[in-house]
């Protein structure tokens, strides 16, 4: 359903909703996966992002997102300089990603200390994004909701344990997806929530032994 606010909006730094606002949101999502300030980032640009990204400020927008700036933040313009000052080391590369990808796609590898996250995301128009891969797992995340991400061993009872932890705090789940690379292998779980997961629920979830890479990512759109 199209809302009048989808048409009159977003408020954003120009020049392109797909190449600037959407790119910024992919950067924000990558930052969310790291749960803190990234120390280094490798940004690979694919398709139209690689061809015309510089002129559209795609590079500045992604780095701005990594710094925690939203699409309407004028600091996006100076994000490369601000990143250098903040000690965020950024490397850009043009790439041709394998498989089917939207023309406006980037793969971002962010690091902080020993933590690393690799995220592939596409800017699919009007500033909307779709995250298609997290750490090698194929996913479909829009960032339009607060998102809970974790990797779980393939054992029974995970969904029940996590949804109980959320339900006990009154945290409502909007959508839920589970995908695994192979049977018996780890699976990635994506929960889109109506409100960010409460601290208490996160505490309970973090204590579940079969889980790793537990991340609560704020709404970015």
């Amino acid at each position: 359903m199209v809302s009048i606010l989808d048409i009159i909006g977003p408020v954003m730094v120009g020049p392109s909703s797909s190449h600037t606002a959407g790119a910024c949101r992919i950067g924000l999502f990558a930052r969310g996966l790291l749960e803190g300030e990234p120390e280094s980032a490798r940004i690979e640009l694919h398709g139209s992002f690689a061809r015309t990204g510089t002129g559209h400020g795609t590079d500045r927008a992604i780095v701005g997102g990594l710094l925690g700036f939203f699409p309407d933040d004028e600091r996006l313009r100076e994000s490369l300089e601000l990143a250098a000052r903040a000690g965020l080391e950024v490397v850009f590369a043009n790439t041709r990603l394998r498989g089917e990808h939207h023309p406006n796609t980037t793969r971002i590898t962010v690091r902080r200390g020993r933590q690393e996250a690799v995220v592939t995301g596409s800017s699919i128009g009007a500033g909307r994004i779709l995250i298609t891969n997290i750490d090698g797992f194929a996913v479909e995340v829009t960032g339009a909701f607060p998102t809970l991400v974790f990797v779980a061993q393939d054992v029974p009872g995970i969904i029940a344990a996590v949804s109980t932890a959320l339900a006990q705090q009154g945290d409502n789940i909007a959508t839920m997806k589970v995908s695994r690379r192979q049977k018996g292998g780890d699976a990635i779980h994506i929960y889109e929530l109506d409100q960010p997961a409460s601290a208490r629920a996160m505490e309970v979830i973090r204590a579940i032994p079969a889980l790793s890479m537990i991340r609560s990512i704020p709404r970015i759109a």
Binding site: I7, M12, G14, G55, A126
Partner: protein
């Protein structure tokens, strides 16, 4: 929202309300957001539009490539037959917003960033010459949103999908309906303004130099505003376009779907593919790449 503008007009006329009021009521009834939230968001959009015009008019901004900037300031001293009228203020405001956009300033995508100058250009240009309240402006933005939503469903709002007719053309149609209601016209007149405006932007290609939202995008926002003024003027005078507005919108969609890929934001045809277009894009892109290597 609605998938037929004709249906929306019938509903608004039968309830004796404007299309803007209908849009605000319908969206609140659909339950995603409250009316207060929607009006607050549109009020913020209006403020950002005003700031963008103000930021762009002095003419000190340059785009990322350096290709555009400073033309809104030239319209401060118009010398043509329409100098000092709504017409030149619409052109100036539309150029100003789009120059801000090209310089990575803050704008409201309406419906897209590439077409963001048309709607503020028309509404703020009219407001400069008429007594208009903020509440009327917010309702006019809702009118524009309703028209854009119909175009999104029936055709497209993306230059990559449908050419510039889907961006500045759709924006002009949205601005025409909003302008008619701002000036006290009826929903029926607003719909005819959309049809009269968009029949004039049918087939418009998306051919930006180097794929950048600069040339001709900045100028197309100004001419998009002019097209909207033509639609508003004819509709308020009682001109009725013979083809129903939904069919005009469908035609835009059909033309977009069959438009050669060279004319859909790929910089493969149109002005982008002219000898000068290619030369400028090459020079400027090389220059930007150089800049990035220094800073990145």
């Amino acid at each position: 929202m609605f998938d037929s503008l004709t249906e929306a007009v019938e509903r608004a006329e039968s309830q004796e309300i404007s299309l803007g009021e209908l849009a605000l009521r319908t969206e609140a009834e659909q339950g995603l957001r409250t009316r207060e939230t929607i009006e607050a968001a549109l009020t913020r959009a209006l403020e950002v539009m005003r700031q963008a015009v103000k930021r762009g008019l002095p003419g000190d901004l340059r785009s990322v490539s350096g290709l555009v900037g400073g033309d809104a300031a030239r319209l401060a001293h118009p010398a043509g037959p329409l100098a000092g009228t709504v017409f030149t203020d619409v052109l100036a405001s539309a150029l100003a917003v789009q120059e801000v956009n090209a310089a990575m300033g803050v704008i409201v995508a309406a419906p897209t960033a590439g077409g963001a100058g048309v709607l503020p250009g028309v509404l703020l240009g009219i407001a400069k010459h008429r007594q208009v309240s903020d509440a009327q402006m917010v309702a006019a933005l809702a009118t524009a949103g309703l028209v854009g939503a119909v175009v999104a469903v029936r055709a497209s709002l993306s230059g990559a999908e449908g050419g510039c007719q889907a961006e500045t053309g759709a924006a002009a149609g949205m601005a025409a309906a909003a302008g008619v209601e701002l000036l006290g016209g009826t929903p029926t007149e607003a719909a005819h303004a959309v049809a009269l405006t968009m029949q004039g932007t049918l087939g418009l290609v998306c051919d930006p130099l180097g794929g950048l939202v600069e040339v001709p995008c900045v100028y197309r926002n100004a001419t998009g505003g002019a097209m909207a003024l033509a639609g508003i003027e004819m509709a308020l005078a009682g001109v009725r376009f013979p083809i129903p507005v939904d069919e005009v919108i469908d035609t835009m969609g059909e033309i977009g779907r069959t438009m050669d890929v060279r004319y859909r934001e790929t910089a493969g045809g149109g002005l982008a593919a002219t000898p000068t277009g290619r030369k400028l894009a090459k020079e400027r892109l090389v220059q930007i790449k150089g800049k990035r290597n220094e800073t990145g």
